[in-house]
Symmetry: C2
Subunit: 214 residues, 2 copies
C-alpha cells in the first residue's frame, strides 16, 4: 500500500529534520517527490496531521513545532506516562513476568546509549535514547501507553531536533538511566516511577521557534 509507504517515508523525513518545522508541503510536490499520485500522498499527509507532526492549512500542510508552552506540556504528559510504564515494568519484574534476557538487552542498550552520548554523536544518541525509553514501555506491556508515548515522543523530537546540542550533563543522564534500570531490575516499582518522572523532566529542552518558511 503506497499510502503507508508515503506515511512512513514522510514521517522519517520530518523526524530526521530533512523537512524542518515551518516547511510547507503541497500534495503535488510530495506526490512528485515520492513518485506516486496525489491520492495516497493525500492520505499520508492526513495521517501525519493525526500524528500531530503537521498542521493542515488551507494551503498545503506545514511541519509543526510545538511552541514552548506546548512543549512543556508534552514533557509533562511524557513524564506521567513514563512514570507509569517504568512502574509497571518494575512490577512485572517483581512478579517474575520479565525474561532475564529482556533486562540484559536493556542493560546493553543503556551502555551503548551512554557511550554514544559521551562521544557526542548526537543523531545516533537521540535514536538510541528513544529506543531505551521505548524498550521500557514495551516491557510494561501496556499497548495503549506505548502508542500514546510514540505520539508524544514524535512531537517532542520534531520540536527539539533543530536545537540539538551536546548533552551537557551526559554523566547525569547516564546515571539516571542506570538508576532506572536498577529500580526495574530490583522490582522497586514506586522508585522506578519516580526516577523515570524525574529523568524526563530533567531532560527537558526548550524549543526554538520555527521560521515560517516558504
Amino acid at each position: 500500500m503506497q499510502n503507508e509507504v508515503a506515511h512512513r517515508r514522510l514521517r522519517e523525513l520530518i523526524l530526521d529534520g530533512t523537512y524542518a518545522p515551518g516547511v510547507r508541503l503541497t500534495e503535488v510536490d510530495a506526490a512528485a517527490a515520492l513518485e506516486m499520485s496525489r491520492t495516497p500522498v493525500r492520505e499520508a499527509l492526513r495521517a501525519l496531521a493525526a500524528d500531530g507532526l503537521v498542521r493542515t492549512t488551507g494551503r498545503g500542510v506545514v511541519v509543526v513545532a510545538l511552541d514552548p508552552g506546548d512543549l512543556e506540556d508534552a514533557y509533562q504528559v511524557r513524564a506521567a506516562l513514563e512514570a507509569l510504564t517504568a512502574e509497571t515494568a518494575a512490577t512485572r519484574q517483581r512478579d517474575g513476568r520479565l525474561a532475564p534476557a529482556d533486562l540484559t538487552a536493556l542493560r546493553t542498550l543503556a551502555d551503548v546509549t551512554a557511550e554514544t552520548t559521551s562521544e557526542g554523536r548526537l543523531v545516533e544518541a537521540v535514536e538510541l535514547n528513544r529506543r531505551f525509553h521505548r524498550r521500557i514501555a514495551e516491557l510494561a506491556g501496556n499497548r495503549i501507553a506505548l502508542e500514546t508515548l510514540n505520539r508524544v515522543w514524535d512531537q517532542i523530537q520534531v520540536s527539539t531536533l533543530r536545537s540539538l546540542k551536546p548533552v551537557v550533563r551526559h554523566a547525569h543522564v547516564s546515571a539516571q538511566h542506570d538508576d532506572l534500570l536498577a529500580a526495574i531490575t530490583d522490582g522497586r516499582a514506586q522508585d522506578a516511577g519516580q526516577i523515570a518522572r524525574r529523568h524526563v523532566l530533567d531532560t527537558r529542552t526548550t524549543a526554538r521557534q520555527p521560521p515560517e518558511q516558504q
Copy 2:
C-alpha cells in the same frame, strides 16, 4: 468540508452505540448512508482509525472494542493523565490563575452529574461525567494532555457502552467528585492528583467482548 462532517457524524454514531463494536463498515455503505462519494468517507474512516475507534481490515473497517487487557491499560493511562491534569489544575488555582467562575461552573457540573447518575439516566450521566472530567483537564491548560485524554476517553467509551448498568455506588462516585473538586479549590495539588487517580481506577468496568458481526 465533507470529510470533517463524515468524521464527526461517524464518530457520533460509534460513540452513541448506533454502530456497535464488531460492526463492519465498508466505504460504499458509509458513503451511501452519508450521501457523499467514497473519497471524503474514506478519509473519515482513516481518521477514525487514527483515533483508535475503528480498525481497518483488508475488507472494510470494523468498530473496535478493547479487549479486557487493553481496557485495563487504557484506564491506567487515563488515571496517570487525569492525575496530572488534576494536579496541574490545583496548582493553577493555588497560584490564583483560575477564575472563580470556572470553579462554580465545575461545582454545578458535579451537582448535575450526581443528580443524573442517582436517577439512573445512564446515557446522560456518561455524557455529564465526561464533561466534568474534561472541564478539569481544560482548567489545567495542558493542550497535549487534553488531546491525549480525548483519545483515551473515546476508546474507553466505545468499549464500555454496551455494558452500561446503573452505577452501583453512585454516592461513592459523587463523593469522590466532591473530594476532587475540593482539593482543586483549595489548591492542594498532590491531593488532587491522588484523588483523581484513585477515582479513575475505582470507576473501572470490564468490557464485554464484541460479537464479530456480519
